[in-house]
């Protein structure tokens, strides 16, 4: 019986947290339609999440694009299909790897910092202080971060896609012997506008999830340094898993018609 009870407790706890996250997400979005707003905080979050993530996004995608080109060339050579490198790199980056990799890097870089910051604020009573100063923490802390991440992630994904394709191009032209003009023409000809639109849409969803998880676990944080550590860990794990799950669902939705 205790064994069954333990399983039940885990399942119930899991369902309860899904409920709490959903409630938290709905409340966050609802503040979008209820003043007051804090545009300064949104601006600050845009800068932190967007601009300062550019180096990490660029580095991640350029190496991935390069490796992708090498793998496709090696794999394609087995049935004399080496020439498809530009097309597959473009499709692979834009449809899947761009959004997912940028999403995961944002989960590592932004979700963790949001969770740790808000958890520390909670532990040091700064969240309580906000309330006593007639400022709703959901409006002042959560909404600006979630909004900024949702808005700026498509831009980061676009930048990541371009740099990733450029990584493939550099490898393709410099070491695999592709003609530069042909490589670029093949890439452009093969990509559909819908590929790009879905890529950016994925980015927006991943940004929303990454920031929401950071805020949610930060606000739920327990006491002390241990509480902050646990909140940060849970936020990054939840954001990463949710991004990968959402990616599968969105791919199914967009491409499996």
């Amino acid at each position: 019986m205790t064994f069954l009870a333990a399983i039940g407790a885990v399942v119930l706890g899991f369902l309860a947290s899904i409920g709490r996250v959903t409630q938290f997400g709905i409340e966050t979005v609802s503040h979008l339609f209820r003043p007051p707003y804090y545009p300064r905080e949104v601006g600050h979050a845009l800068l932190q999440i967007g601009y300062f993530s550019l180096p990490v996004v660029g580095l991640t995608t350029i190496f991935t694009g390069g490796a992708l080109a090498l793998q496709i060339y090696a794999g394609g050579a087995r049935f004399s299909a080496e020439a498809v490198v530009p097309q597959i790199v473009a499709i692979g980056m834009v449809r899947e790897l761009g959004p997912v990799l940028v999403g995961l890097m944002i989960a590592a870089r932004v979700t963790s910092s949001i969770a740790a910051e808000i958890a520390t604020m909670k532990v040091t009573e700064q969240i309580d202080a906000l309330v006593t100063l007639s400022t709703n923490p959901m409006k002042y802390l959560t909404l600006p971060r979630v909004l900024a991440a949702t808005l700026v992630m498509p831009v980061l994904v676009a930048v990541g896609n371009i740099i990733g394709i450029m990584g493939g191009y550099l490898v393709g032209v410099n070491s695999l012997g592709f003609n530069a003009g042909t490589y670029i023409r093949n890439t452009i000809d093969f990509l559909e506008p819908s590929d790009i639109a879905t890529s950016l849409a994925k980015g927006a969803v991943f940004g929303f999830l990454a920031a929401l998880m950071g805020c949610f676990f930060g606000m739920q944080s327990g006491r002390g340094a241990q509480g902050v550590g646990r909140a940060t860990k849970s936020a990054v794990v939840a954001a990463s898993v949710l991004i990968l799950a959402a990616n599968f669902i969105l791919t199914q939705l967009f491409f499996a018609a």
Partner: protein, 253 residues
């Protein structure tokens, strides 16, 4: 006037408050004493609505504050009458000292221009004994005593009618404690504010209090004017004041 009637609060199986009855007259300074973990902070947070009481009534000037909804304009108006000094200062470390002090004046219903807000912040800083050159520093660059002063300046920035002090002298050296106690007393008197302080520092109690209430076992054990504290006849109060290990209050060793 602030009144608590039969307030209960549990966290899971732990009953922290078991029926707190307390009354604070307008313009008076009440100090709540009691050991660590007896629910002093919880009592204070119940009045502010930072923690929701399970049962019982909390009224401020006859208005039931437990029914004010989060984020409603009534609740904003209610909170605008309060100032609070947190135990660790709870200063926002992403903002400079003056932006912390003027936080309420930079947004919301009390919004003023940036210049006005800064001017008021500098004046409040001066009131708590800090020079204008700390205004542009960040909280992390200040000592513990200075952070407490900034917290005090923030609590009084919007001229509140009611001020709460959560362990104002914890973690300070005796001289700085004395300075903060004196400041609190002066400010409460000159603003005519109602004050509620929680502490276990007896020097603080004698410096700040008009009335004293002792919280023990989730209930108010004794309450009366500070002048009668030493002759209360209550063994719990007597033990707490003398700091003796012998007496009815259980000590874990």
């Amino acid at each position: 006037m602030i009144e608590l009637r039969d307030v209960h609060k549990s966290f899971g199986p732990k009953h922290v408050l078991r029926g707190v009855d307390l009354k604070i007259e307008k313009g008076k300074s009440l100090v709540i004493i009691g050991g660590s973990g007896t629910g002093k902070s919880v009592t204070l947070k119940c009045v502010l609505g930072l923690i929701e009481a399970d049962t019982g009534l909390v009224t401020v000037d006859g208005q039931d504050v437990t029914r004010l909804r989060q984020g409603s304009s009534e609740r904003d108006a209610f909170l605008a009458r309060f100032g609070m000094l947190f135990q660790g200062g709870a200063l926002f470390d992403s903002l400079t000292v003056w932006q912390n002090v003027a936080f309420r004046l930079l947004r919301g219903s009390l919004k003023k221009t940036k210049e006005e807000a800064r001017e008021i912040a500098v004046e409040k800083l001066r009131r708590v004994g800090l020079t204008p050159d700390v205004a542009d520093l960040f909280p992390a660059e200040l000592s513990g005593g200075m952070q407490k002063r900034v917290g005090l300046a923030r609590a009084i920035a919007a001229e509140p009618e009611i001020i709460f002090f959560d362990e104002p002298t914890t973690g300070l050296d005796p001289i700085m404690s004395g300075v903060i106690n004196e400041l609190i007393r002066e400010i409460v008197v000159e603003m005519g504010a109602t004050a509620m302080t929680i502490t276990h520092d007896m020097t603080s109690v004698r410096a700040i209090a008009d009335d004293v209430a002792m919280l023990h076992g989730g209930k108010i054990r004794w309450t009366g004017p500070v002048s009668e504290m030493d002759s209360s006849g209550d063994p719990y109060v007597a033990q707490f004041i003398s700091g003796s290990a012998e007496g009815p209050i259980e000590t874990v060793r």
